[in-house]
């Protein structure tokens, strides 16, 4: 019988407290907007934070409140935006698919090394000590961007440069943040011309460090002055849409091929694969 007393005591206490909690729950329950769950189901649920919110859940809450736009999820892209518009009855929005693009062609054969690097094998660590390449703007090739990609959309090519699988890339921007040299940028997928260099060195210095560097000769600027400018020894596309298609061959006369059509790159990537 002595065994029963503690058992009964504890069960009674437990029962009492659970009763109290049930009562409190009825009084204090928080009503959640059921639409948040609906939105959650549509979202990709990778919690990458590319929308600017801390995760898919907070983004869903913001959409339901009307604080975030339906096309705010760059990962979900067009499909998710359309579904959101349909589910929540919002106004239709235009979605531009963006993909990551690497602004460097400093391949192992083209870019000279400044010394032997024996430190931690990440771009970040190498960048802290100045990098192992002569060009202090170019890709270091340790693949911090590859490491950080949640979608397996960027991989290290044989030439020591990261390559983007544009069909898999969702434009979340993680690689953009991961690159210590800010070589990767998000671009509208329809933009087909890219400057494959970030070097701000003067022409001869840049050319010495890397065969594929932009030497700021100005050929592309002369071909298309309203869209391309020279800035700090580097060509820059300011208005992509103002580049007429018939001027592209002129632009491609670039002596170091530091500017050119992206689809040629892509074709090369497919051959690599």
């Amino acid at each position: 019988m002595d065994v029963l007393i503690p058992i009964i005591t504890m069960s009674a206490l437990g029962f009492l407290f659970s009763l109290g909690l049930v009562f409190a729950y009825k009084k204090l329950r928080v009503q959640e907007d059921p639409r948040v769950l609906l939105v959650m189901e549509i979202l990709p649920q990778v919690n990458c934070g590319a929308c600017g919110y801390s995760g898919c859940r907070t983004f869903a809450e913001a959409i339901v409140k009307g604080d975030a736009p339906a096309n705010g999820c760059p990962v979900g892209g067009e499909e998710v935006a359309h579904q959101l518009v349909k589910t929540l009855g919002l106004e239709a929005v235009e979605v531009i698919k963006k993909v990551a693009r690497v602004h460097c062609r400093g391949t192992t054969s083209a870019a000279k090394e400044s010394g032997l690097y024996r430190g931690i094998f990440t771009c970040y660590a190498s960048h802290l000590v100045g990098g192992q390449k002569q060009c202090s703007y170019g890709c270091l090739g340790f693949g911090d961007c590859v490491e950080v990609c949640p979608f397996d959309a960027i991989y290290m090519g044989e030439e020591g440069l990261p390559l983007v699988r544009e069909d898999k890339c969702t434009g979340c921007g993680k690689c953009v943040d991961a690159c210590p040299r800010n070589i990767i940028e998000l671009h509208n997928i329809k933009q087909n011309i890219l400057i494959f260099c970030r070097s701000l060195d003067r022409g001869p210095t840049a050319r010495k460090a890397c065969k594929n560097a932009c030497i700021a000769c100005g050929i592309c600027v002369r071909a298309c002055p309203e869209a391309i400018v020279l800035e700090n020894n580097l060509a820059k596309i300011v208005h992509y849409k103002k580049i007429p298609q018939d001027k592209i061959p002129d632009i491609e006369k670039c002596p170091t091929k530091a500017i050119g059509l992206i689809h040629k790159e892509k074709k090369k990537q497919e051959d690599d694969r």
């Binding site: 007393i5 005591t9 504890m10 109290g20 909690l21 204090l28």
Partner: protein, 191 residues
């Protein structure tokens, strides 16, 4: 007079965080901003006071008459867990931003040893009902005081030049140690 002494000693001399080193987890976890530290202190004070009351009732009315002292820990845990659930529901209802700010540390009050320590200490020292309540409130205020002081110091620390390896937890622990030393100065104030 004795009650006043007990109250002050619970706040300053036998401060749970800085004397017994109990409840260090929320003390370090939620002491980044003064206002969230203050609300954490309030939540802990509330749970401590109610815990002190209920555990006294359970201890003296149910456990002791039936010679069930060995159930103290289990039943006290039950009380604390239910109370924390209650507080959590309440805060979520009243202030969602506060609920977000406290995050995981709110349910972790359940496993906050300061509260368990309070219930067990009060039972061990055989306090009367009034003494237990005073002890509970005092300890809660003591915890609040410690966590607010800590938060104030850490807000200043954010602006100062801390050596790289000590940033974050390292300097926080050092600060906590120095605060404990400073609070040692209060001992001897009351016998």
């Amino acid at each position: 007079m004795e009650l006043v002494a007990l109250f002050i000693s619970a706040i300053l001399i036998n401060n749970f965080v800085l004397h017994y080193f109990l409840g260090i987890c929320p003390f370090l976890g939620v002491s980044k901003k003064i206002d969230s530290a203050f609300s954490m202190g309030l939540a802990v004070t509330f749970v401590m006071t109610i815990t002190a009351v209920i555990t006294w009732v359970i201890n003296h009315w149910i456990l002791l008459p039936n010679n069930l002292e060995y159930l103290q820990i289990v039943s006290f845990i039950l009380v604390i867990a239910s109370l924390v659930q209650l507080v959590e529901m309440f805060i979520r209802k009243v202030s969602p931003p506060l609920y977000q700010a406290m995050g995981i540390y709110l349910p972790l009050i359940t496993t906050n040893c300061a509260i368990m320590g309070l219930a067990l200490l009060a039972a061990l020292k055989n306090y009367s009902f009034v003494e237990t309540v005073v002890f509970g409130v005092g300890s809660g205020i003591g915890f609040t005081l410690a966590i607010i002081l800590m938060a104030g110091i850490r807000e200043q620390l954010d602006l100062s030049d801390v050596p790289e390896p000590l940033k974050g937890a390292g300097i926080a622990l050092i600060v906590a140690g120095i605060m404990a030393l400073a609070f040692l100065g209060f001992s001897g104030m009351i016998k």
